[in-house]
Symmetry: C2
Subunit: 121 residues, 2 copies
């Protein structure tokens, strides 16, 4: 049986690996952004983004489900409607993405300021 | 001159690279945790953590300053007192770490639950 400490270390390592995997993948971030904006049906996702194929979309949707970031719901209609939404864990994952976006905004602002100063000289 | 979009993309890429670099580095995370706990003088840091050498500490302190996560203050005493604290940007960086820690706690809790279920069977 794992000790509590070992479990904590393994979980920390898993969480970091998951974050790295997702933030490195342009399409995973695109899918997360789409669901965040309420575009949560596969057909609508493919239509919304130029260059996003059904194959790539399905791979990313499967990965994000494996990570328990997204949940899939099938509505018993004809044809069946499929929607994705964030799990409770996924909502926490969004906080990581939001915090990184904040850093990026700060870096961009600092870079714009530097560029402005260089132009002034 | 960079366009705003290009600057945004470069900043996003820089922010992600910085996050990856820091979360992959055990000693960077240790230093961040120490400053967070108010142990912010180099001597106290080395004493607080077994295995942390002055060389490794200085490398990490320099890196975290380059990233503008930590600020260094020298107090004009004899001998001069040196303290590190989080910059405004560093406080935002902490939110990324905190959000990843939350994910890790959830993963650990889920793993403990699974292990409990397995033991029950």
């Amino acid at each position: 049986m794992q000790t509590k400490k070992k479990r904590g270390q393994a979980a920390a390592s898993d969480a970091k690996a998951m974050v790295e995997d997702v933030i490195r993948c342009k399409w995973s971030l695109t899918v997360i952004d789409l669901v965040h904006r309420g575009i949560n049906r596969p057909g609508a996702m493919v239509h919304a983004i130029e260059g996003l194929t059904t194959k790539v979309l399905n791979e990313r949707l499967n990965k994000l489900q494996r990570y328990d970031i997204l949940e899939r719901t099938v509505f018993p209609e004809k044809p069946p409607r499929v929607e994705y939404r964030f799990s409770e864990f996924g909502c926490k994952f969004l906080k990581v993405i939001d915090a990184i976006d904040e850093l990026a905004a700060d870096i961009a602002a600092a870079s714009a300021l530097n560029q402005g100063n260089e132009t002034d000289e």
